[in-house]
């Protein structure tokens, strides 16, 4: 019997599969399609202090084995999320959810995290210091170890629940940023957010997305994400969530061998609405094929060997 359970910052997950923030809304579009309680958990749409429309459209561009998005953190704001989205979610999802939070100042992060930390449904806070689509916010905190540590420290001071910092790959040395977050009290690290990218329309000779550049995700970035997970997992002691281009049960296993305790699935949800359910279904057979009886046992298996 394949044992898929993992423990993420002290909370047990039935399996390590987690839909990534921004690809799963607040859950109920998918709950109309399948019982989302099969998931380990999911990370809900990046939430900010104030409501945000996000960037102008078009916000989406096709790429080889992936897409660019420049949504820019569209969300109804933390108050509405707590008053409206979470109660709706409670009807369809009975596990702890991961609250994904973004901000434009340390105060913003603290404000939103403190409120979400008090919600019973929230199991973890995933603090996004890595959104490439908003100017003056998000990623600027994730591109310097000092700023990332400052956000981590401030959020940790007001939260009782595990705080996971989501890192940007658009940096020279991701390991130093991960270490700074750990030093500042982070309970976990998730990586990677999207890679900054762009496409140009040959007919109009203009960038495809109105914001000109956007975040590149999808299977094309899997090797980059895997490499960064491998580097960070070797350096830190806290659990790592592997994110980036994961599309199959085999990818999940590969991420875990690189050192991930749990794995987020992003872009795959957009083209294959049943992707996470299918990956969870396929995991036992993939485990058997590679002679794995318990997923816990393979975490970081490629690091020491």
């Amino acid at each position: 019997m394949a044992d898929m359970r993992v423990s993420l910052c002290g909370i047990e997950l039935d399996n390590p599969v987690i839909p990534a923030s921004g690809t799963f809304g607040y859950g109920y579009e998918f709950a109309e399609l399948y019982d989302i309680n099969v998931l380990g958990t999911f990370s809900f749409k990046g939430t900010t202090r104030e409501p945000r429309f996000g960037n102008p459209t078009p916000r989406i561009a096709e790429c080889t084995a992936g897409l660019i998005n420049s949504v820019g953190l569209q969300n109804p704001g933390v108050e509405k999320v707590i008053e409206e989205e979470l109660p709706k979610l409670a009807n369809v999802f009975h596990k702890k959810v991961m609250a994904n939070v973004s901000g434009f100042s340390v105060d913003d992060y603290v404000y939103s995290c403190e409120k979400l930390d008090k919600c019973e449904q929230v199991g973890w806070l995933e603090v996004n210091v890595s959104c490439p689509n908003v100017h003056g916010g998000g990623m600027s905190f994730g591109t310097s170890p000092e700023a990332a540590a400052e956000v981590t420290r401030a959020v940790k001071a007001v939260c009782r629940k595990p705080v996971i910092i989501k890192l940007s790959p658009n940096v020279t040395d991701i390991v130093s940023i991960a270490l700074a977050c750990q030093e500042a009290g982070a309970d976990g690290i998730s990586l990677i957010n999207t890679l900054l990218g762009m496409r140009i329309d040959l007919k109009t000779r203009r960038p495809v997305v109105a914001n000109r550049t956007g975040g590149f995700s999808g299977p094309a970035i899997f090797p980059v994400a895997l490499r960064m997970v491998y580097q960070v997992a070797q350096a830190v002691k806290v659990p790592v969530i592997g994110v980036g281009g994961v599309s199959s049960a085999e990818n999940v296993i590969e991420m875990m061998l690189a050192g991930a305790t749990a794995v987020e699935v992003g872009a795959a949800n957009l083209t294959r609405p049943y992707a996470c359910r299918d990956i969870i279904k396929e995991l036992p057979a993939a485990m058997e094929k590679y002679d794995i009886s318990s997923l816990r046992d393979i975490i970081g298996g490629a690091i020491h060997g």
Binding site: N69, Q74, V208, T271, Y274
Partner: protein
């Protein structure tokens, strides 16, 4: 929304760069004209969202323009199967049509209006249709609308068929109870400005998922943010926030 495998029944050119694709499969999720499907094309990452032009119990038709790599690849498929999400979007509200609805299509914007016309005729409405095209060569589906029993006026930009000029020229002096339109956004504002009644506009936007998950296609309306793929693609005239 439903995901299903559809067989290609036919995929034929109607005019230069305009294709008609008929697919066989479970159409049970399609409940209103104006809804769309999202088709996975091999070797493309994102699906291609296309309006349903017509459907019955076990087949559906989409009409599309070869406009980029995805539709180029799709146009080459003559048989085999496709992974399709069906029943996407809100679709048109036929309850608001009144007894003399006007349907206004610009270019390929006629596609969702065809199924709508069929529905309205079935409900006993007197359906007037204005179809605008660049030229006679692009003017497809005119006879099909006529065969349904619609009163059809054609406009072409170059005057090679019907009235010379834009669809708004044909709207002048018409008596109608409600209107439905689909076409380029530049046409929408002009249609809205010269319209005499309430109406419904079917919008288009680049989409990531097509079912409300990614927020890629959102737009601001006078009544809050809406996702074109989920709360749209059809918006009421009274809620549209025109881009200035």
């Amino acid at each position: 929304m439903r995901q299903g495998i559809f067989q290609i029944i036919e995929n034929l050119p109607l005019a230069r760069d305009i294709m008609s694709l008929r697919l066989g499969g479970d159409t049970g999720a399609i409940v209103r004209p104006g809804q769309f499907v999202n088709i996975q094309v091999e070797d493309c990452f994102l699906r291609r969202p296309l309006s349903v032009c017509d459907w019955d119990g076990d087949s559906l038709t989409v009409v599309y323009r070869i406009a980029g790599r995805g539709t180029e690849l799709l146009a080459k498929m003559k048989n085999g199967s496709l992974d399709v999400l069906t029943g996407l979007g809100n679709g048109f509200n036929t309850a608001l049509s009144g007894d003399r609805p006007l349907l206004i299509g610009g270019g390929l914007g006629f596609t969702p209006l065809y199924a709508l016309a069929k529905n309205l005729i079935k409900e006993g409405k007197k359906v007037q249709v204005i179809l605008g095209f660049a030229s006679k060569e692009q003017a497809v589906y005119v006879d099909k609308f006529k065969a349904l029993g619609c009163e059809v006026t054609v406009c072409t930009e170059d005057g090679s068929l019907g009235l010379k000029g834009y669809v708004t020229r044909a709207m002048e002096g018409l008596d109608y109870s409600h209107f439905y339109t689909c076409g380029p956004e530049a046409m929408f504002k002009a249609v809205s400005d010269c319209s005499l009644t309430s109406g419904q506009f079917s919008f288009e936007q680049r989409m990531g998922c097509g079912f409300g998950a990614c927020m890629g296609c959102s737009c601001e309306t006078l009544y809050g943010v809406k996702r074109i793929c989920k709360e749209g693609p059809v918006l009421m005239k009274e809620e549209i926030k025109w881009r200035t």
